[in-house]
Amino acid sequence: MTPFTYLRADTVNDAVRLGAGETAAFLGGGTNIVDLMRETVARHETLVDVTRLSAAVTETAEGGLLIGAAATNTAVAEHHGVRTRYPMLSRAILAGASAQIRNMATVGGNLLQRTRCTYFYDTDGSHCNKRAPGTGCDAREGFNRIHAILGASDACVATHPSDMCVALTALDAVVHVEGRDGARTLPFGELHRLPGDRPDLDTVLAAGDLITAIELPPLGVAARSTYRKVRDRASYAFALISVAAAIEMDGDRIADVRIAFGGVAHKPWRATKAEPALRGELASEAVFRAAAAAEFADARPLRDNAFKPELATRTLAAVLAELAKGDVA
């Protein structure tokens, strides 16, 4: 670990000022960034602790929720409003990590988690364009079971590891950012990038930008929603495939739907092809599978993850069938 200076910010302005340097980073719960620094993937020289900033979950004037970026994963997952109005978010958070980690991890930090690609972590022995731009990608022809099947590039086939972000993508959340030029917001779906030829950039945030809050808009469809994560052991493993889905039925017909996938791409993947294929249709296994087929028509599986399109299709169909029946409590 590179020696670093620890600073603590008591206000957003302080944080933005202290975190301005190129080698500075913001510190939430530290559940990912400290690992990255120990493994020398990251060599920050200044860490600005932002856990004293807003951790409140409050009602918005529009009828949604505003979640302070310093709120812990546990606090959000247990929040009554989240559990009743956005159950998929609560379930997504609880599907991730362990209770101890969720108690430490913050919402802001969760959004900025970095990939679990093992070549990304192997600073000494492996090539990785995300960690060291221009060195190549050892994952493309190597171990890539947890890697992307959609939206990848020659430069990078990594996936985004967060569960929470999959739900936030489906929920049309809004990210509040404070930067050198003041405050701004951006739609959640625009926060994370596809790798292209700059896989070192996970998000569109500029250096020194601080995420201050996540806003959940009022979204009736989200009341009937869930999150299902498929992985290699019962707990404490990253998703091979995950599905966040919400549905609103009109009799046997799908009135409205929200879907996002985890474990398939460099960013949480909003199913922009599957959703329109479902709206207004009669709920059936065939319709669900057709919607998934539309989403994964462009899938480009790798050596170890050829099972993912079928697994994603099956998982989506099972989740939608359950939601359509109203079985999900």
């Binding site: 590179t2 679990r116 192997d122 022995g125 492996s126 171990f143 290699d232 707990s235 697994l311 998982t315």
Partner: protein, 780 residues
């Protein structure tokens, strides 16, 4: 009944009770016609009662000092740098930034390391336990991707880690073999395990297979596994007046001290290695590069050193279980009797070690069959030396064999439990020896009963609960009884007024499984003392003898050594007792120990307490040391432990996820000494077996031989949610040919588990998965 008769009966009863409590001297060998250990007949003593670990409270409170918690004044901290190519030479080292980093004491590479002898590789001599037949930091050569090539010492661990990350190396790579296909193309050799050929041929299995009416002939594959003890390897090391002191985490203190002494040209009494606590061993807590590098760095710096491997470091420095490709072919008659049994295949090792994964070991004594062909071939790869890992051979060998037996049972339409019982041998089918103790049929019957095997649906893929397909499977587990030569025990009996206490010292290892507690139980019972009168010393190379916590042999080795020491103690006490003792004139073989003293076997009223003997002899204490008899029992019998494993799995029809919902192990392992710690060991083995079945796999990148998942986040082992209630039962039938009638039980728990899971997955889904681990993609 007269009052006199009643008194007579009461007196007889007392006498009877005294005789039952009395422990006569045990034989120091177990040869045909020999007398079983008299402790076997002791039914109401300490043995067999559940006793909590003596060090449990210390460990829970964090007060047990492990290897990385010893402290020396002026100690420096070590960090290693590892090679990133599989084979070649180091052509340049850039250490400028590391040298200049804060707190750095020195950077040691092959250029400045002290000259050291090449360690004797494990098995090359009776005391050699070196990791590989390679010099350590003595030249520029790279032999595996991950080899330690530099060591940084600094004032703090953080400073050492940081400086090590600043080192730069330039290599001249040489051609290497890092793929299975490449290794096969280089050629195969017959495997040798501990100097013995891994080959058996009885009758003509090929001919019998060709004519058998029912045949199963399949290839099974098991991947590499890495060791993940909860305590990563560590050592705290000091040179004191020319002698080397190492506080280590070790399964083999004596042999390690000897091998290290040879590396540094030290007389045996100039190396002291202690290991009071070990946070899990499983075969990996031996001698690896890090202790040797740590000792060399301490010598170079003239300061004590603590070297602690990171979890990644464990993957780079400490070998694991190698991969296997196994063919099992069974030919059977229409009634299901085996007529041909073939178990052959390939294991991978390196040019610098000699450790084929000996997967046929468990097959040798498994089933009655007139035609048997067993063979392990090896091919070599440039990689970290592989090593022992819980039940080397049997863990993966039973997967192949017991899946094949299940496949044959399906083909024959016979219940797999009944098929196994039908083929139960009456003597060892390959050695021809009689079994010392084999009650596997009882284990099967008891297990089937407890588990509810009768409720199994014979037809696969027919039970379902929503998305979940439910199935049951079973398999036999097995592991041999071993006892290695070289064990000694030292007993010191100390008087304090009228009280006595005993210190029993053995150069053994406590790795968390309860050895010190079990040794106290057995020692107390043999000496006729209470548990709190007995202290156990262990984990120190200054204790005489050599005992390895390996091959599940430690309990028997300690048991035999304590028998010898007890015999010596009784002889010494009789000498001290002299002519004024009630025991005067008695020979050692006519007395036994009971109630903190010695008594005549056929008249326990003729007795004297230990305290009385010592007092009259004006002695505060007496110390004896004795060596265990040679393990002759192994030459006369085929000696094995057995288990019947039953499990129920649920396989998700949508996602292919497998969850084990119930598992039961029914064991036949001789007499169980401490049911409490035994249960934990069985359960731990079963959990490790579940990991092997469903998730464990080292990701070894075949392009460059680099291990890509060196962390507990990416190398999956079961988490709590993966582990169901584990039921454990045992026959508790003593083996008359072993000390205490016991067998070691450290390894058998893992055996058979992967096959039972795979067979249950078949019963649930109708799908056979023959390559581990059974991940969901193989079931979609």
């Amino acid at each position: 009944m007269s009052i006199i008769d009643t008194a007579k009966q009461a007196a007889q009863g007392l006498m009877q009770g005294a005789i039952e409590k009395l422990v006569p001297l045990a034989p120091d060998s177990w040869i045909p016609g020999g007398r079983p250990d008299p402790l076997i007949a002791h039914k109401h003593g300490l043995i067999g009662t559940p006793v909590s670990r003596r060090d449990g409270a210390l460990k829970v409170k964090g007060e047990a000092g492990f290897a990385a918690e010893f402290r020396f004044d002026d100690m420096a901290y070590a960090a290693l740098a590892y090679a990133t190519i599989p084979r070649g030479r180091i052509t340049a080292i850039d250490s400028a930034a590391a040298d200049a980093a804060p707190g750095v004491v020195l950077v040691m590479t092959h250029l400045n390391a002290p000259r050291m002898n090449t360690p004797g590789v494990f098995g090359s001599s009776p005391t050699a336990v070196g990791p590989a037949d390679l010099p350590i930091l003595q030249d520029d050569r790279i032999h595996w991707n991950g080899q330690p090539i530099a060591c940084v010492l600094a004032e703090t661990q953080e400073q050492a880690d940081h400086a090590a990350s600043l080192l730069g190396f330039t290599y001249d790579a040489e051609p290497s073999t890092t793929s299975l296909e490449g290794a096969k193309a280089n050629g195969r050799e017959p495997g040798l395990f501990m100097g013995q050929p891994l080959h058996n041929r009885i009758g003509d299995a090929d001919a019998a297979l060709a004519t058998a009416p029912h045949v199963v002939d399949q290839v099974y594959r098991t991947p590499r596994h890495n060791h993940n003890p909860i305590e990563p390897h560590a050592a705290t090391i000091a040179w004191i007046d020319g002698a080397l002191v190492i506080h280590d985490a070790s399964q083999m203190v004596t042999a390690q001290a000897q091998t290290i002494g040879e590396i540094f040209d030290l007389e045996p009494d100039k190396v002291r290695l202690t290991s009071p606590y070990v946070g899990g061993g499983f075969g990996c807590k031996g001698l690896w590069d890090h202790q040797i590098i740590g000792a060399a760095a301490a010598k170079l710096a003239g300061r004590p050193v603590r070297i602690t491997l990171s979890r990644e470091g464990v993957y780079r420095v400490v070998g694991g279980r190698s991969l296997t490709e196994q063919r099992v072919a069974i030919g059977a008659t229409a009634e299901g009797r085996f007529d041909a049994l073939v178990h052959t295949g390939l294991s991978i090792m390196t040019p610098h070690n000699n450790m084929p994964e000996p997967f046929i070991l468990g097959t040798r004594a498994a089933y009655a069959c007139p035609n048997i062909s067993l063979q392990v071939d090896i091919a070599r790869m440039n990689m970290l030396a592989n090593t022992f890992m819980r039940a080397p051979g049997e863990a993966v060998g039973t997967f192949a064999l017991e899946c094949a037996v299940d496949e044959l049972a399906v083909d024959l339409g016979i219940d797999p439990v009944e098929l196994r019982i039908l083929n139960e041998p009456d003597k060892d089918p390959t050695s021809g020896l009689a079994f010392s103790s084999r009650h596997i049929v009882e284990a099967w019957r008891n297990g089937a009963d407890h588990f509810g095997w009768a409720d199994r649906s014979v037809e696969p893929a027919t039970r379902r609960d929503g998305e979940w397909q439910i199935g049951m499977g079973c398999a036999t587990g097995t592991y041999p009884y071993y006892r290695m030569p070289g064990a000694q025990a030292r007993i010191t009996l100390t008087r304090d007024g009228d009280a006595v206490r005993a210190l029993i010292e053995v150069a053994a290892a406590e790795m968390g499984m309860g050895t010190s507690t079990t040794t106290a139980i057995v020692g107390a019972e043999r000496l006729g003392l209470s548990l709190d009168q007995v202290e156990v010393g262990y984990g120190d190379s200054s204790i005489p003898g050599a005992i390895m916590a390996g091959g599940s042999q430690q309990t028997a080795a300690i048991g035999a050594a304590v028998i010898a020491a007890h015999n010596a103690l009784v002889a010494e006490l009789l000498k001290l007792a002299g002519n004024d003792s009630p025991l005067a004139g008695l020979s050692a073989d006519t007395v036994g120990s009971e109630d903190a003293g010695l008594a005549k076997i056929d008249d326990p009223t003729q007795r004297e307490s230990y305290a009385s003997i010592l007092t009259r002899a004006q002695r505060d204490s007496v110390t004896v040391t004795a060596a265990a008899a040679q393990p002759l029992e192994l030459m006369h019998w085929s000696m094995h432990s057995h288990s019947a494993i039953f499990c129920e799995v649920r396989v998700n029809a949508v996602t292919g996820e497998t969850r084990v919902s119930r598992i039961l192990g029914s064991f036949d392992c001789g007499r169980i000494l401490n049911p409490k710690t035994a249960k934990s060991q069985f359960r731990g083995g079963i959990i490790m077996g579940l990991g092997m079945a469903l998730m464990e796999e080292t990701q070894f990148d075949e392009r460059n031989g680099r291990i890509m998942n060196p962390s507990l986040a990416e190398y999956h082992i079961p988490v709590h949610l993966d582990v169901p209630e584990i039921d454990v039962i045992w026959t508790d039938i003593a083996d008359p040919h072993t000390p205490m009638g016991a067998h070691g039980i450290g390894e058998i728990g893992i055996t058979g588990v992967a096959a039972a899971v795979a067979n249950a997955v078949y019963n649930a889904t109708g799908k056979r998965v023959r390559d581990l681990p059974i991940t969901l993609d193989k079931l979609l």
